[in-house]
Every structure is written in structure tokens, then in C-alpha cells.
């Protein structure tokens, strides 16, 4: 572990009530890189993001962001740290009562005393970066899924964060929007000199843009490596996940008693 890592997750475990979600996880995110955390639905990916963002506290272990242990920070320290973070939520999470312009200006108005003219220029620059400066007057309800995601991306980078977190940025998008979002994640990360974490289960799209991949299953990291290493992995879980096979260590059927017993009503 060194100063070159922006995030260090050390032996972190987390449980919702009695249900363990993460089990002794270790991972690092080097500065300036785009790192993907992949895994099936419910494997704990989003929980990991929430732990990094300080919205949840680990049951054990430590999450360090920029050298600070998130779980030990006071509310004001956490607020200060979060100002250096941007997050893109799964469905965008745009403020539905504000138009596109106001959504992006929101953080600037809350956290800075910039004059309106400067805010206007900054908002337009952010919107231009995601190709939507022409949509600044639209309300969130008037945007397509892909456009909403791009506006949310512009909002996430509003204050030029050092860390950008993406929670399922590709979910529910058409192929064109999917490609656009992928390219934007990579380009914005490099242009801003930021560090990005992409939580996704969209393997093919994310492997095109990321530097490093962690694969999580059942609360533990089961594989890690570069995109190429993941693609060529012979580990059964990784192979099944990358190539979307129905047969493999991840069973198609939810665990249950004998099917024939259920059909014959013996267990009722």
C-alpha cells in the first residue's frame, strides 16, 4: 500500500442485519486509473461504493480514501471528503424539480460563492463535455435514458472531483448510448486527472475502457487483473461471467428442495 493508491479497502466485511454482503475484501484503486468492480446482481458491488462514499460503515476492516479512513471521519470531515467525490447513480438520480442547468449548478451554488456568470460558463462547459449543452433548458422528464445518464455524469464532475464513482452506468441503455457513456467515462477521467471506479455487470462494455478489474462474487474478490487477463482467464466463474454462460459455478436455479418433491407437493 502506498500514496499512489487513492483507495485502499483493507479486510472489509459488511452485513445488512445478519446477512453478510462483503467478506474480508481487499482491493486498491491507484490514482488516475479507471477500475471496474464486476459481479452479478446482489454480490455487494453497490455496497462497496457506499462504503467508499461513507454512506455505510464496515462491520470490520478499513476503507481509506486519499489516506483517510472513511469510517472514522466525523460528519464535517466526511462532508469535506465528499466534496472531492462525484457519483453517478444507477438511474441518474437527477433532481426532478430542477432543469438540466439547475441540476448541474446545484452543487456549485451549495458549495461555492461563485458569481452567476461563472456558474453559467462552468455549467455550459460541463454540459458541452457530455455533448448536451443544447439541452440545458430541458427538465429531467424530457430526457431519454441515455441523455439523463449524461446529464448525471456532467453533474458528477461539476466540481472537478478527484474520485468519480459510477454505479451501473450502462444499465438499461441502448447500444449507442452505451458506447457514448463508456467513452465519456474514460475521456473525462483522463481529462480531469481523476480516478474512477465503475461498478457494473456489463462486461464487454466496461472491459473496453478500464485499466483494472476486480470480480466479486458472494462477497469476496474471486479474480482480478487487466481487461486482457480477465478476458483470457480460465477460472470457471470468470469464464462464465465474461462469456455469459448459463452453465457454470453460478447455478441457474435458485437453491431449493428437490424439484420433484415440490411438484408432488411433498414439502407443503
Amino acid at each position: 500500500m502506498s500514496g499512489s493508491n487513492l483507495i485502499e479497502v483493507q479486510s472489509v466485511s459488511f452485513a445488512y442485519d445478519q446477512r453478510p454482503v462483503l467478506k474480508n475484501i481487499n482491493l486498491v484503486v491507484p490514482r488516475g486509473k479507471v477500475v471496474s468492480i464486476m459481479g452479478g446482481s446482489g454480490c455487494g458491488k453497490t455496497t462497496l461504493l457506499r462504503l467508499i462514499g461513507g454512506q455505510l460503515k464496515p462491520s470490520s476492516g478499513s476503507v481509506k480514501v486519499d489516506g483517510e479512513s472513511v469510517e472514522t471521519l466525523s460528519a464535517s470531515q466526511l462532508t469535506r471528503l465528499r466534496r472531492k467525490m462525484g457519483m453517478l447513480f444507477q438511474m441518474g438520480a437527477l433532481f426532478t424539480d430542477l432543469n438540466v442547468y439547475e441540476n448541474i449548478a446545484f452543487q456549485m451554488r451549495e458549495h461555492t460563492d461563485l458569481p452567476e456568470a461563472i456558474i453559467y460558463d462552468l455549467v455550459m462547459m460541463k454540459l458541452h463535455a457530455v455533448g448536451l449543452h443544447g439541452a440545458y433548458k430541458l427538465m429531467p422528464s424530457e430526457l431519454s435514458g441515455g441523455m439523463a445518464r449524461r446529464v448525471a455524469l456532467a453533474r458528477a464532475i461539476a466540481l472537478d472531483p478527484m474520485l468519480i464513482m459510477y454505479d451501473e452506468p450502462f444499465a438499461g441503455l441502448d447500444p449507442i448510448s452505451l458506447g457514448v457513456i463508456g467513452i465519456l467515462i474514460r475521456k473525462l477521467n483522463d481529462a480531469l486527472g481523476a480516478t474512477s471506479i465503475v461498478v457494473t455487470h456489463d462486461v464487454q462494455e466496461s472491459l473496453k475502457i478500464v485499466d483494472y478489474v476486480y470480480m466479486v462474487s458472494d462477497g469476496v474478490v474471486v479474480a482480478e487483473g487487466t481487461a486482457e487477463e480477465i478476458r483470457s482467464s480460465t477460472l470457471p466463474f470468470v469464464h462464465q461471467f465474461v462469456w455469459g454462460e448459463t452453465d457454470g459455478p453460478v447455478a441457474f436455479h435458485y437453491p431449493s428442495e428437490s424439484y420433484s418433491d415440490l411438484l408432488l407437493g411433498r414439502t407443503l
Binding site: Q55, R82, R83, M87, F89, Q90, A93, T96, E110
Partner: protein, 263 residues
């Protein structure tokens, strides 16, 4: 045997759950009060919510107030006339409105018009992760979303109650004076002589402030704690209006007992 254990166990569980929720709500109220500094620094936030919560409830309050006054005028005149004191209709309408009907009915209407809107809005903000997004932007959702609505509710309801009372008295005037022919001078002078500002009007306004705290607190609490699903928001909205209505009626009894009976 199992049922014998199960019934008290489920009652105990229910009581425990209610008490826990009450404690949680009290803690939430405390957090709102602590986080209310933003509202003082940026009163525009409260002003904006006062428009949505208060001004937009005005129509239903004014129309209801008018009809309540009209009906009250008719009913009271009919009853009073049996004792030969029909001209006292103004006094009775005014006292009934400022002491009781104004605060209670306005609060019930406010709970169903504004309270449900607040619960549903906050619940949906939670469901669509807008509150989480705010938190991740280092903006405290309680300070930015909850507290302005809370204070807007407390400002709005007493004002709406006053409007309700004015419209109700005007309705009583229309029925009593214009329709049934009660002398206008007697109508107003009796009302002026009988209705006491401190005893009647001020107590009515105090009631509406208490109702406002209860209604808006329940509305924001239910919205903020609703499960982030369509079903969860729907259940929270229903719970908000039912709990608010019962709270208004129960509080009204307690307040009336203290204010007008001197218990």
C-alpha cells in the same frame, strides 16, 4: 397453547415497534431542529416550500371555509331561532370557527392536501436516489430538503387557518344577514362583544400551530423513512394521512380540555 403465547407476543412486538418508531421520530425531530440553520441563512428555501405547501393549498381551504360557514349559518340560525335568538348566529358561527372548526378542519385538509404531497415527494426522492445523491454531494438532505418543508408547514397552517376562519365567518354573514335577514349591526356587534381575542382567537391559532407541527412532522418523517419502492411510498402516504388525522383529533381534545375547560 401456542396461540396463548403468540397473542401476547404479537401485542408486545407491536407495542415495542410503535415505541421504537416514536423514539425514532423524536430523534428525527431533534435532527431537523439542529439542521434548521440552513433555513435561517437561506430563507428563500422556506419561502419556496411555503408557496408549494401553503399557497397551493389556499383554494381548497378558502372554498371549504366558505361552505362550512354557509352550512354553520343555516344550522345555527335554525336552532337559535327556536329559542328566539336568531340574531346570535354571528357569535355562534364565529366562536365555533375560531375555537374549533377552523383549526381542526384546516389541519385535516392540510394533512390531506399538503401532508400527502410532502410525504410522496420525499418518498419518491428517496426511491429515485435523489437524497443519496445529495448526501454524496456533501449536502445534508435533512437541512436542504426536510427542514425547509418542516418550517414551511409550520408557517403555512396557522395562516391557512386564519383564512379558513375569515371565509367561514363571511359564509355565516351571507346566510345570516343576506339570506335570512338578521340585522347586520347586531350580527357584527354581538360577534365583536362576545369573541375574545386572547381566549378564543389566540387559542385557536395556538391549536393550529400545534397541529402544524404534528402534521408536517408526520409527513416528512413518513416520507424520509418510506421503503424505496412504489408500494413503500404508497403505504407511507396513506400512513401519513391516517396518523395525521388521528393526531389532530386527539391533540384537539387535549388542547381544548386545557384551553377552554381549565383542566
Amino acid at each position: 397453547m401456542r396461540a396463548i403465547i403468540r397473542i401476547p407476543a404479537s401485542i408486545g412486538h407491536y407495542v415495542n415497534d410503535r415505541l421504537w418508531r416514536l423514539g425514532y421520530a423524536s430523534r428525527f425531530l431533534f435532527i431537523i431542529l439542529i439542521q434548521s440553520g440552513t433555513c435561517l441563512i437561506r430563507p428563500r428555501l422556506v419561502l419556496r416550500e411555503t408557496y408549494f405547501i401553503g399557497v397551493q393549498s389556499l383554494i381548497i381551504i378558502l372554498v371549504s371555509g366558505m361552505f362550512v360557514g354557509l352550512v354553520l349559518g343555516l344550522q345555527m340560525y335554525d336552532t337559535l331561532e327556536r329559542f328566539g335568538s336568531g340574531e346570535g348566529v354571528g357569535t355562534v358561527v364565529a366562536l365555533a370557527l375560531v375555537r374549533e372548526l377552523g383549526p381542526v378542519l384546516s389541519a385535516l385538509l392540510f394533512a390531506s392536501r399538503a401532508g400527502t404531497a410532502v410525504t410522496a415527494e420525499i418518498g419518491l426522492m428517496k426511491t429515485t436516489e435523489q437524497l443519496s445523491a445529495m448526501e454524496m454531494m456533501a449536502i445534508e438532505p435533512v437541512a436542504r430538503v426536510i427542514a425547509p418543508r418542516f418550517w414551511a408547514g409550520i408557517i403555512s397552517l396557522p395562516l391557512l387557518t386564519s383564512m379558513f376562519n375569515v371565509m367561514g365567518i363571511f359564509g355565516g354573514y351571507l346566510v345570516g344577514v343576506k339570506l335570512l335577514g338578521v340585522d347586520e349591526g347586531i350580527f357584527w356587534s354581538q360577534m365583536q362583544a362576545t369573541v375574545d381575542f386572547r381566549e378564543d382567537v389566540l387559542n385557536g391559532i395556538i391549536k393550529s400551530v400545534v397541529f402544524a407541527v404534528a402534521v408536517i412532522m408526520i409527513a416528512v418523517f413518513e416520507g424520509y423513512n418510506s421503503p424505496p419502492t412504489a408500494e413503500g411510498v404508497s403505504a407511507a402516504t396513506t400512513r401519513a394521512v391516517v396518523t395525521s388525522s388521528l393526531a389532530i383529533l386527539a391533540l384537539d381534545f387535549v388542547l381544548t380540555a386545557f384551553m377552554f375547560r381549565g383542566i
